[in-house]
Symmetry: C2
Subunit: 460 residues, 2 copies
């Protein structure tokens, strides 16, 4: 049953991404702000605005795949499509973002669409910007209408006071929050080639986000706004955002539910003065890594702030036949209720990890395609089980090798020490599939009694 054969440790995988700081740094080319306008009964900040200072910014977006996409999601998609001609609304041009918190404006029917359009008209009037160049986010209670009078008064009050300061970005991040216990901010800097063969230019990529497990009736879980002063065309920017989101937000699970309002927006002001960024170039890759680094860090902050969570669970998988398999296994592990409960109990339970891995299913064709995984492969692999060989699988929990298929399976290890190592704000689960070069990671949190209490005792 057990063996004492030494196996090489499964170290944490390097991400290859630039370092990130968790502080507010506003990139050039934007003014921002956040205030309380009374949508939330608590009186907390609930309106955020972002506006460009140098004309239209290149914009790219990822929206919820939920069939019940909320009114702000649909309006943002329509506006992006209108400015770019790209029918799905994945990229375009934008000059402002408005985010309301407290009501999701979801499942509100035609009246909700009319409300969101009215908000667009109010913002257009207040800023002098074109209606189609405004993007919309909202989060909060579903099935309730937004209080248009409060939003109108809020726009009139906030729009003239937007500031190009880090504090203003922090205020906007605070205004995104619903049940978040902390404000979520991340920033990084990379160098891009300068314009006209000039010296390299430092560009900043900063993100703010909200998101925890859905809490009724606040379904609108996850929003993120990423701002950069880099200059890049919208279609190239969208080509950088989608795979970055596939490796980060698509690999985030708090309770397995998705929401009606999930949205990630990236705006690039172009003020930094970098040279042109062509798709597939080294400069594009560098900007993509910066966007991914910020996305990854925000996703990890979101996982760590999952409802009732006491531990961030990161599952890193190597040795997959391809990245799709490795990601599928990582996602299955952090999504398993049994793994999540074991993490909460600080139980080095390799059996549940193996069981969850054995249950992994490759993402659907749309996700694979969006992530840049070849269409042929997608057609064959989508929806199929990930390829695993139990005799090659290795598992390490919090640095302790616990299972090695090639060595007969379960390994002897110091359970007390492993339990102690698991009692930390972050738990790393490493899985090696031993089959190929595919890698992936996913982020989740432990399942606690507090989660159940919060979600079952909240009465409507």
């Amino acid at each position: 049953m057990t063996t004492t054969a030494a196996i090489e440790p499964l170290a944490a995988q390097p991400t290859g991404l630039p370092d990130v700081e968790r502080r507010a740094v506003l990139p050039a080319g934007f003014v921002v702000g956040g205030v309380a306008i009374g949508i939330k009964a608590s009186g907390r900040a609930d309106l955020a605005l972002v506006q460009t200072t140098a004309g239209p910014a290149a914009a790219a977006a990822v929206f919820t795949p939920n069939a019940f996409a909320a009114a702000p999601v649909r309006l943002s998609q329509a506006n992006l499509a209108a400015t770019s001609g790209e029918p799905a609304g994945r990229y375009g041009w934008a000059e402002a973002i408005i985010s309301t918190s407290g009501s999701a404006n979801a499942a509100t029917g035609p009246a909700g669409d009319a409300d969101q359009a009215e908000i667009g008209r109010l913002l257009a009037a207040a800023t002098g910007l074109d209606f189609t160049r405004l993007l919309h986010l909202s989060t909060g209670i579903i099935g309730t209408r937004l209080p248009l009078d409060k939003v109108a008064a809020g726009i009139a009050r906030l729009a003239p006071t937007l500031a190009a300061t880090d504090d203003a970005l922090e205020a906007a991040a605070v205004a995104l929050r619903t049940t978040d216990s902390v404000t979520k901010i991340a920033t990084t800097t990379v160098e891009l080639p300068g314009a006209g063969g000039g010296p390299a230019v430092a560009v900043t990529v900063s993100g703010i986000a909200k998101g925890v497990g859905m809490i009724h009736p606040r379904m609108a879980t996850m929003l993120a706004i990423v701002l950069t002063d880099a200059g890049v065309d919208p279609d190239v920017l969208a080509g950088l955002l989608r795979p970055a989101a596939a490796r980060t937000w698509d690999q985030l699970s708090v309770d397995g539910d998705t929401s009606t309002n999930d949205t990630v927006l990236v705006l690039a002001s172009g003020v930094a003065g970098n040279g042109p960024i062509e798709a597939g170039s080294a400069a594009a890759a560098e900007l993509g890594r910066a966007i991914e680094a910020v996305s990854r860090d925000l996703a990890r902050q979101q996982a760590a702030d999952g409802e009732g969570a006491t531990t961030l669970i990161t599952c890193q998988v190597s040795g997959g036949l391809d990245d799709a398999d490795a990601r599928a296994v990582a996602r299955a592990v952090v999504s398993s209720s049994l793994v999540k409960a074991a993490a909460h109990g600080r139980d080095p339970n390799w059996g549940r990890i193996a069981g969850a891995a054995g249950n992994a299913t490759v993402a659907d064709a749309a996700v694979l395609e969006a992530a840049g995984i070849a269409r042929d492969a997608a057609a064959v692999r989508a929806g199929s089980p990930a390829v695993l060989d139990p005799d090659r699988l290795r598992i390490a929990i919090a640095g302790y090798p616990v299972f090695d298929g090639a060595a007969g399976g379960p390994l002897d290890f110091d359970r007390a020490a492993a339990r102690a190592a698991m009692d930390a704000p972050e738990l790393l689960i490493r899985v090696d599939l031993g089959l190929g070069g595919g890698t992936g990671e996913a982020f989740g949190c432990d399942l606690t009694q507090a989660y159940v209490i919060e979600n079952s005792e909240y009465t409507t």
Copy 2:
């Protein structure tokens, strides 16, 4: 936001299946038994045997898709393949079933395979039956070897005492249990055409099962044995079992995890004397309905006995573009942690149901194909989101219409009365997609603090 427009109630959907009783009725052609042999530390019954009395029975099986299939699963597949020539081991001939409980013999490597083969040899020697005509089940702790000395002594003690009585079937059902809080049995009777144009013959279909959420390190969740005295060829029987399982056990979710040992076996002794049953005939359909009725009832008993559960959740979906969509939505609803927690809080939370429905993904191609859904459709639809139109969706909770997309969305309803109606051993959630004739149902249970406690505080 709300409307008082009356909408037609969403009544429970008729299943079209014969009635089922929850008592032990042993079909003709079998002797059975169950005893305690000391695998379980608790001293509870842990060895069950089934043997045919009239030669080989037609056998059909459904096994776990988990990549970590346990040794008994692999040996049963190999034996079925050996007796039928069907390479996947989905059907064949069998004369006995042995089930051990307390150790799953999973993740035990080559030694575990050797142990299971030795059990086959011991049983063959004790019964005089061919090794390949023995089917194996096991459930319990993973990563531990079976105590062969105890199993050998148990076989020697139990095999000579097998009886053709209902009490013996009950004893076998008890011996299947691990953490089950109740013994799970179901039986039904249908009439099939007699042999040679003779009068109709009553045949009995009875099933026993074990299964709750996986509890560490007991991963081996769900086992079922269905016995019938009907006469039917193995391939026809397999053709009846697979769609029945697709509509019942494949739609069962306790915590979303599957296990290494999940197995459903159906044995048909042929003693009843019915006429030949051809695939696609009315007689085949009638036998199929009986198998499905028993499968469905056992699956519902399993859902109701989910770890920590206080309520069985049944989600019935109508109006799907096809059955695959309807089943996907039903499965998504009963699998949602948020719906499960709301059910526990007796919270008529339509937002979570809509959100879960909007998140539904059609099953993978293999499941669709196994369920008899056209291959062309499978290629297009597998892994894709279920087709929904929020403006046509209707939801009723415990009989209360709560959402009607065509009527603007949320409906006014008596929340206190709905909460009271939800406070019952069973909760019916009805969803109508309003798009077509597709129907489906799924079975789950509420998510409780007890589940988290059981699964996080159980230390290894």
